[in-house]
């Protein structure tokens, strides 16, 4: 493929759009990491839950039952309601996962390795629930869910409305998260807990509720990512595997750091799309994991990794 300015421009837009979806996923994952110091591998499961709830609401749950058992929501505001449902559902599943699988472990040991292993288990459970419930088929969101328009910017450069939409929504939700963390009472408590969870409890913060809130927020963000991923690709029970990319982005940006997760995600999205545009689509993952290896070699803490500077 020859170098060509319009391809470059187009791939940059695509890359930012993909990167912003990664960012939604990476930020939630990083948020949980910043509080509980373990990689929550079930995070991809939350995304799948969100995707299927959205799909189900849009199609009237014919997936599960083979016929329309419910009034499907397109007539009632379509993607907006389905999206809200997906967010609420994935948030609830995230909270439930914490309460049923992680809380009992947290109460018995401070070894985060057990949490990591439990999260792998939950991830497998969620994936298989969907295999049993709806089968392993690839499913596309119904036509017309998102506007299919493309904008011609001249010079052969076109931009998909859906790319702009996912970029816009990602910015909206990341901005909302930033507002929540910086401007509200519970946001302040979450930032304090990220610094020192135990001491946050001494401030009169109900730590158990705080962790619940963190998982709910992570679930919401994962659902938004899940909806846009199912629109971009398709929906299937293993879609959560794409979280690996978000993990990589979070590590590159610095585990536990939210700005890091966003920067890492955008870099990764750009790298993927530029590789796809100028080298070959097959090389995308190679580039992603090479970036991870290089980052771990030269700056293992990532761009914004936690510096240990406590004064004793």
């Amino acid at each position: 493929m020859d170098f060509n300015f319009s391809t470059l421009f187009q791939q940059v837009i695509n890359g930012l759009s993909l990167g912003s979806v990664y960012a939604l996923i990476a930020v939630g994952y990083s948020l949980v990491y910043s509080i509980l110091s373990f990689s929550n591998f079930a995070h991809g499961g939350f995304l799948v839950v969100g995707g299927y709830i959205c799909y189900g609401l849009l199609t009237g749950f014919d997936v599960a039952f083979g016929r329309e058992v419910l009034l499907s929501v397109p007539s009632m505001g379509g993607i907006w309601l389905a999206g809200l449902g997906a967010m609420a559902g994935a948030g609830a599943v995230a909270v439930l996962t914490e309460r049923l699988a992680y809380k009992p472990i947290r109460e018995h040991t401070s070894m985060t390795l057990y949490l990591l292993i439990a999260s792998m288990g939950v991830s497998i459970v969620i994936e298989n629930i969907f295999v049993i419930l709806v089968g392993g088929r690839f499913r596309a969101l119904p036509q017309g869910t998102f506007p299919a328009a493309t904008f011609d910017l001249g010079g052969g450069v076109t931009v998909n409305a859906s790319d702009l939409l996912s970029l816009g929504f990602a910015v909206f939700f990341l901005g909302g998260l930033q507002f929540f963390l910086m401007r509200t009472r519970w946001g302040l408590a979450i930032r304090a807990a990220a610094c020192d969870l135990r001491t946050a409890g001494l401030m009169g913060v109900n730590v158990s509720r705080l962790i619940g809130i963190v998982f709910f927020v992570a679930g919401i963000l994962a659902a938004v990512g899940g909806v846009f991923l199912s629109a971009r690709y398709t929906l299937y029970p293993q879609l959560g595997g794409i979280t690996t990319k978000a993990f990589v982005a979070a590590v590159i940006g610095g585990l536990g750091s939210l700005p890091g997760a966003v920067v890492g995600s955008l870099l990764l999205g750009l790298a993927e799309m530029l590789t796809a545009g100028f080298v070959s689509s097959q090389m995308r993952d190679l580039v992603v994991f090479s970036m991870l290896v290089i980052m771990l070699l030269i700056k293992p803490a990532g761009f914004f990794g936690k510096q240990i500077s406590d004064k004793i």
Binding site: C195, L202, V207, D310
Partner: protein, 234 residues
């Protein structure tokens, strides 16, 4: 002056280690009480158990005659506030944010609380936008005390506030503790620096490997030959 805080027969073990054995203590309204003891005597264990941070085998804590709840966050809401050992300020948050999180239990924080903290420790006011991790050790200790006051506690608990500080800073901080007490806050302080703690407090308890070995008026303990030899050095 009635009894404000009462700890009855508290025992804590870590596996086979019995860190605290049947310790009882009372703190009157507006009183300052000290617990002194060497390294590993069980002082921090006691404070953490009172605050619900460490589970105890036995023991009851009463505030104004009513049993304290079990969870730390409820204990803070009922009027106890701990300045933990090693200060534990939130290093990534600014001085102002550290004070604001201290007021978390209050439904309507009063700006005058923060003014009061700044009047006690003017150096905090000058550094209000600075991340707490960039403060000196002494300033971090002041911040930890200020943060604990923001929840308007009836009892302020301090775990070794003198740890690692220069004598002149220790004198400053202890002078402010006296001012805080004069404003009506009762103080329970745990210290290795026995001299300072005994000078500050009205009564004191002496802990040795988890057991109470002596208690009494701080003045009397300061003059006690055994205490002098074991805890006051010279």
């Amino acid at each position: 002056m009635g009894t404000l805080l009462e700890v009855k027969n508290m025992s804590v073990s870590y596996g086979a280690i019995r860190a605290l054995r049947g310790f009882s203590l009372t703190l009157d309204e507006r009183e300052i009480v000290a617990v002194i003891g060497a390294n590993g005597a069980g002082k921090s264990t006691f404070m953490n158990a009172v605050m619900g941070m460490t589970a105890c085998e036995s023991g009851d804590v009463f505030l104004d005659g009513a049993a304290l709840p079990r969870e730390s966050w409820r204990i803070v809401r009922s009027g106890l506030s701990l300045v933990p050992e090693g200060r534990k300020v939130f290093t990534t948050l600014t001085v102002l944010e550290n004070l604001r999180i201290g007021a978390f239990p209050l439904s309507k924080p009063d700006p005058r609380d923060m003014d009061w903290v700044f009047s006690l420790f003017p150096r905090l006011g000058e550094r209000r936008e600075q991340p707490a991790g960039t403060l000196s050790g002494g300033e971090q200790q002041m911040l930890a005390i200020g943060r604990a006051l923001m929840s308007r506690p009836r009892v302020l608990l301090l775990d070794e506030p003198s740890l690692g500080l220069a004598p002149i800073i220790i004198r400053d901080i202890f002078a402010e503790l006296r001012r805080i007490n004069e404003e009506g806050v009762s103080i329970l302080i745990v210290e290795q620096n026995a001299r300072q703690a005994l000078l500050l407090s009205r009564r004191a308890y002496v802990l040795q490997t988890g057991c109470l070995v002596k208690e009494g008026d701080s003045k009397a303990l300061l003059a006690d030959p055994e205490i002098k030899a074991a805890y006051l050095g010279h």
